[in-house]
């Protein structure tokens, strides 16, 4: 009986009971309307990992172990670890120093520098790699990869650390000063300790990105796991070796993600309330320190932004004098928008049931579904693509190298972001509104349609937009799974770097940087509006309901 209760007296059925349901489970059971599609989404999310394991064992465990113990495998693994470690440490140094300079000192134009320092987030790493190899063709593979990845990744450390420094309670530092510690000792013993959880969380994101990255080592020709997986997949029909290497890579990323999850928990505990009204006293820098700080900021900005901009400008101008192929650019842009739109649509559709369940029902089963849908967070794009290629070749020939398989890969990779957006926006809608809707005669399914989704709509849409823009610049999965004959902006750029046609690739690089800048802007905007919406009374109510249920 989903019909709304009419105004006026209602006649119930003759037994006097308006069809009750049995009180079986004490906890509210999640409705099947959500559980069934959520299970489908979770199954799709874990499919590539599952098939990768199956495929690695294709020739039996002995062959698998044989590949693992080969010298070359060891060398590749060590090289991947060495690259990841170097990039992570350097990103920490750059990220923390820039965060401190832009939030806690009297450096001139601090707020301007803060924006500039975060901008490299908008340079896709493979575009940066292309820019550097085009400018310096003799760049050392290892040093070049470390340089490019550090310049692309340090904002992952900078942003959380700057946020922490910005809103940390000044009372702790004041207490330390009043207890007789000097400015520098206070900085070392109190301030740095406060930012440690944020820095650790950021560093692990850097590590995850570096370990999974395919574009930079591939373009700069550094032998790490990702590049070798791609090459051996291309050069042989035997999929076992790339599958096993992929499994090793996944093992490493899973360890990083596990560490990240742990550090995030601790960072949340260490966080100080957002409502600090008082601001910290910035540290007054001597003239020489000001000069040193400004030079450091300027040097990083020149390397991370100046080099790409100048190099792209140079190659674009050289290319256009030779004649810009606008037709190819246009069709690549069109294809990119098409697959990105499809990817965003499918990913969001799969994410809605999982996100709503995760926000509203906290049973064991729901937690399992949510965890499964996050699998893509730990899976490198190349590995997901590889696994789906194998699957497609063997079981789904008709859709192999067709759009559907590519869209599935996007869904697996970006489901975590979409589920997170849905979950957060549904959690912001107070559950009391759903209860009121129930008491006014709406069934659970209609409450979802008439109340929950309209309220969560803007957040879900923003999540979809973010997925759309991220898909547009995705490289490895697009490269391996795109329909025959289709070229996107990313694959065009890739093709150009492979043959050294730097001028032809330049307009694609410039367009990709512009596209990648959009989510940075969008995220910044969303964060601001989220704080505006945060109503203390509503939050308190949410807490109370959470405790009661």
């Amino acid at each position: 009986m989903a019909a709304p209760v009419p105004a006026g007296p209602v006649t119930l059925d003759s037994s006097g009971t308006p069809g009750g349901t049995a009180v079986g489970a004490r906890r509210k059971r999640p409705p099947a309307v959500l559980v069934v599609p959520a299970t489908v989404a979770a199954a799709i999310a874990v499919l590539p990992l599952g098939y990768l394991v199956v495929r690695s064992l294709d020739r039996g465990p002995a062959e698998l172990l044989d590949i693992v113990w080969r010298d070359r495998t060891m060398r590749l693994t060590l090289q991947s670890l060495w690259l990841t470690g170097s990039v992570t440490v350097l990103s920490l140094v750059v990220g923390v120093s820039l965060a401190w300079l832009t939030t806690r000192t009297t450096l001139p134009w601090r707020s301007g520098w803060a924006v500039v320092a975060a901008l490299p987030l908008a340079v896709p790493s493979y575009v940066a790699a292309y820019v550097w190899i085009a400018a310096f063709p003799r760049l050392d593979p290892f040093l070049g990869s470390v340089l490019v990845l550090t310049l692309c990744c340090y904002p992952y450390v900078l942003l959380p650390v700057a946020a922490m420094l910005y809103r940390a309670d000044p009372a702790l530092e004041e207490v330390a000063r009043s207890l007789g510690r000097g400015q520098w000792r206070t900085f070392l013993t109190v301030t740095l300790r406060q930012v440690r959880p944020a820095a650790a969380a950021g560093a692990l994101l850097v590590a995850l990105y570096t370990m999974s990255d395919f574009g930079v080592p591939a373009i700069l020709r550094l032998d790490v796991l990702t590049r070798d997986i791609f090459i051996s997949y291309r050069s042989s029909f035997d999929g076992t070796r790339p599958a096993v290497l992929g499994l090793i890579l996944v093992l490493l990323t899973v360890v990083i993600v596990w560490g990240e999850g742990r550090s995030r928990g601790r960072a949340a505990q260490a966080r100080v309330g957002a409502g600090t009204a008082r601001r910290q006293q910035p540290m007054v820098l001597r003239p020489w320190a000001t000069a040193a700080g400004l030079s450091w900021l300027a040097a990083i900005a020149a390397l991370a932004l100046g080099v790409p901009v100048v190099s792209l400008a140079y190659w674009v101008s050289r290319g256009s004098s030779a004649g810009l192929d606008l037709g190819a650019l246009g069709s690549a842009a069109g294809a990119t928008i098409l697959v990105a739109a499809l990817g965003a649509l499918v990913t969001t559709a799969l994410a809605v049931p999982v996100g709503v369940l995760a926000a509203r029902y906290r049973t064991m089963g729901v937690r399992l579904l949510e965890q499964a849908s996050y699998a893509g967070h730990a899976l490198p794009g190349l590995v997901v693509a590889l696994s789906l290629v194998f699957l497609g070749v063997r079981y789904a020939q008709p859709i192999y190298q067709q759009a559907p398989l590519l869209i599935v890969a996007y869904a697996v990779l970006f489901l975590p972001a979409a589920v997170g957006a849905v979950r957060a926006s549904v959690a912001q809608a107070p559950p009391v509104l759903e209860e009121v809707a129930r008491s006014l005669g709406r069934s659970p399914g209609r409450v979802l349609r008439d109340v929950t989704l309209p309220l969560a709509g803007p957040g879900v849409a923003a999540g979809a937009a973010l997925v759309f823009l991220t898909v547009m610049k995705e490289l490895p999965a697009t490269l391996l799974l795109r329909p025959t004959g289709m070229e996107t902006l990313a694959t065009r750029l890739w093709a150009g770097t492979e043959v050294g046609a730097y001028a032809a690739a330049a307009p694609y690089g410039a367009l990709l940087i512009l596209l990648a800048a959009l989510p940075t802007f969008l995220l910044g905007y969303r964060r601001r509006s989220a704080t505006l919406e945060a109503e203390p009374a509503r939050a308190a109510r949410l807490d109370r309901v959470e405790v009661a249920t």
Partner: protein
């Protein structure tokens, strides 16, 4: 007949029982206030009656229909129970008219009904506004109109005035009471504010540790609380040791008149406004120890001589206590009957 009958209701959230065999009957058309301190389980009672939480045991009968009993849990959308939550909880994506009409279908008749209800709560012409354009008091009225729109058998109000400031609260209370009367709806109001309960309700149920300690009309509850706990919870009370003999009892405040025949030692509850100040020399001699001025009235604290030393007594008077000074000797007298509780 839209009577609410709750019997033996039990609810726990895995820990101790929040509702512990609760019984409550609210006659048709009455406004009952469930009064209790925070954490006594009153919001849980409301959520179980609304159907948001299943009961562990016990029955809930609404308009002669069992909506909760062992093995049966009628979902909230089939109970015909309207809810007015704290802070109103209007749907932020719908207009005022959209909110009020949420429980109705579409159609012309329903538009008329929405206008009727807005008029009833004093917000005629506000239908096109969005919730954020309304004041807190207006939002509460819309929430009430929304709950009343489908013609529910019962309306539940969960501390609906606690988010309003004091001045507004009294006005909104009166409007809500008027609107409930006009529709003849049976209603249960949950509150921790005794003044709110006593001034609004036809029936006050005092709740303590998951049970109802007493249900009575406000005047009766105030005059004859069932035990000393209820007495001190509902209003200020002076508690005196007495020895009863029939309709009279001997106390530090002299001989008191009892409501019922009693014998033996026990305690009585005297309300501060039952005690008057007289000149020294008449009444029971007392010494003023403090005065507290509240604006509309004031408390004068005095000590009277008891068998074990001075007994503190509070006296309520209208206006400012300018005619008494601390340390002054006065006389006191008790007017009217008092309630007696035998010693256990």
């Amino acid at each position: 007949m839209s009577e609410l009958v709750v019997e033996g209701l039990v609810k726990s959230f895995g820990g101790p029982r929040v509702l512990d065999g609760l019984d409550l009957t609210v006659p048709e058309g009455a406004l009952a206030a469930v009064l209790g301190s925070s954490g006594c389980g009153k919001t849980t009672l409301l959520r179980v009656v609304a159907g948001f939480e299943p009961a562990d045991a016990g029955t809930i009968v609404l308009s002669g229909t069992k909506v909760a009993s062992p093995g049966r849990h009628v979902p909230p959308e089939r109970r015909r129970v309207g809810v007015v939550p704290q802070e109103g909880a209007l749907f932020p994506h719908l207009t005022v008219a959209g909110n009020v009409g949420f429980g109705l279908g579409r159609g012309r008749k329903n538009a008329v009904r929405v206008d009727e209800l807005l008029e009833l709560v004093g917000l005629a012409g506000f239908g096109g506004r969005m919730p954020y354009e309304l004041s807190g008091g207006q939002q509460q009225r819309v929430a009430l109109a929304r709950a009343l729109a489908p013609g529910p058998a019962l309306v539940l109000l969960d501390e609906p005035f606690s988010a309003l400031d004091t001045g507004l609260r009294a006005a909104v209370r009166e409007d809500v009471r008027t609107a409930l009367r006009a529709t003849g709806a049976t209603a249960v109001l949950v509150t921790h504010d005794q003044e709110e309960a006593l001034s609004m309700a036809d029936l006050v149920a005092v709740m303590d540790r998951g049970r109802i300690a007493q249900v009575a009309a406000p005047g009766e509850l105030y005059a004859s609380p069932v035990d000393l706990g209820v007495a001190t919870f509902v209003g200020d009370a002076v508690i005196l040791d007495v020895v009863a003999d029939g309709l009279l009892a001997a106390s530090a405040l002299g001989t008191l008149e009892l409501r019922e025949q009693m014998h033996g030692s026990g305690r009585v509850v005297v309300r501060p406004e039952q005690i008057t100040l007289t000149d020294a020399g008449s009444g029971i001699p007392a010494t003023v120890t403090a005065t507290v001025f509240y604006g509309h009235d004031a408390l004068v604290r005095v000590d009277v001589a008891g068998s074990d030393g001075p007994v503190p007594v509070s006296i309520r008077r209208l206006g400012a206590p300018t005619d008494v000074s601390i340390g002054e000797s006065v006389g006191v007298r008790v007017v009217g009957p008092v309630s007696f509780y035998p010693a256990v």
